[in-house]
Each structure stands twice: as C-alpha cells, then as structure tokens.
C-alpha cells in the first residue's frame, strides 16, 4: 500500500469542502501524498470565486445558518477555505478535475482556477491514483 490519500470530492457543500481540504492537508502534513478528485457539485467549487460559496449540507435555511456557522468559525479562528487550498497546494497536494462533469455542466477551463488543477481526468485517473492508496474517501 502506498502512503497516499485519494479523495473524491463529489459534494459542493461548504462543510464538506472543509472536510476534504482538512483531510488532504492532514495527510500531506503527516508525510502522505494527497489527491483530490473534484466531480459533480464538488467541481463547481473550483470555479473562480466559488470555493466557499456552497450551501451547508444540513440546515442551510436560505443561508441563515451558513452565516451563523461562518461567524462561529471566525470566532473559533478556523482557517478560510482559501488558506486551506493555498496550504494544500504549497504542500504538494494534487487536484484533478472531472472532464465529464465539465462536459455535462458546460464548464469551460477558463471558468476554473486552472492554477490549482494538476490534471483533467475521468474514472481511469481516479482508479489509477487510488489503486495503491492507503486512504480513499468519497465526500
């Protein structure tokens, strides 16, 4: 088994993007390699300016609870998603964007943060990355 964490980021919910980036950063910090495979709703979050724009996975209530959660996160000094992404890239984390999602949802490369993306791929890329990974998750 390789020392690697490979995570499928299917959800675009703000709290789940936090989970993915925190686990990715944790893996890199502990000396593992990490790859995040963004697909479906997750891929929307790679659009420019969209990283923290997802709803909460529960109790979103038109954004009211999200606003409260964000305030509480600020109070607890939780890092922003922008910082977590910056750290993830600095520590050598890989980002893969799902090409099929781009096609289905009509997303063009120019709309995405291409500076974060290492590869554009499909299921074969995920399997290739995950087959020798010691950790793989679907978020």
């Amino acid at each position: 088994m390789g020392n690697k964490a490979v995570i499928i980021v299917h959800s675009g919910d703000m709290d789940k993007i936090y989970s993915a980036l925190i686990i990715g950063n944790g893996a890199l910090s502990m000396g593992l390699d990490a790859s995040l495979y963004f697909t479906f709703w997750g891929l929307q979050r790679l659009k420019k300016g969209a990283l923290d724009k997802g709803p909460l996975s529960k109790m979103h209530m038109l954004g009211l609870v999200k606003w409260i959660v964000k305030k509480r996160m600020q109070k607890a000094n939780v890092a922003s998603l922008e910082k977590l992404m910056k750290d993830y890239k600095e520590l050598g984390g890989r980002i893969i964007a799902c090409e099929m999602t781009m096609e289905i949802m009509g997303i063009r490369k120019e709309e995405l943060h291409t500076e974060w993306i290492d590869e554009y791929g499909a299921v074969g890329t995920y399997i290739h990355e995950a087959k020798d990974a010691s950790i793989t998750l679907f978020i």
């Binding site: 910090s29 502990m30 000396g31 593992l32 939780v78 890092a79 750290d87």
Partner: protein, 81 residues
Amino acid sequence: MKKGGEYINTIEVDVRGQTCPVPLVEFRKAIRKASPGDEVVVLGTHPASKKEIPMACESLGLNVLEVEDKENEWKIRIRRQ
C-alpha cells in the same frame, strides 16, 4: 548557532490560538523550509495538535527533542534531519 562547523538555525512557528488543521500544516511547512540540522520550535494551544505533531514526526522520521507543557500552552522542539 554554530555546531560542528555547520550553522544551525532555530525556526519558531507560533500557532497559539489556531485550531485544526493549522498547527499541523504550519509545522509541516516549516519542516519543508528548514535545512537539515535546523531546529523547528512549535508554540501552540490546540490540545489535539500537541499529540498529533509528534505523530506526524514519527511518520516523517523526525526527531522530537522535547514536548513542554505549561498551563494552556505547549512547546514542541523538533530536529529537521
């Protein structure tokens, strides 16, 4: 500081008041930037990171020189191999 003809730097990482995963990430960033022989000193308050930074050192094959606890703060000294 000069030790055995080599200059040894001490790099301080102050993550007091920061929460998961920042202490672990900032520790890792400092280790990556340090030169072999340098000492990285992490100051923090986040309880879980006090045990997780030594765990990360173990998986990275780094030498933890000291873990010091004082009231609500901790200090971990690590040698970059």
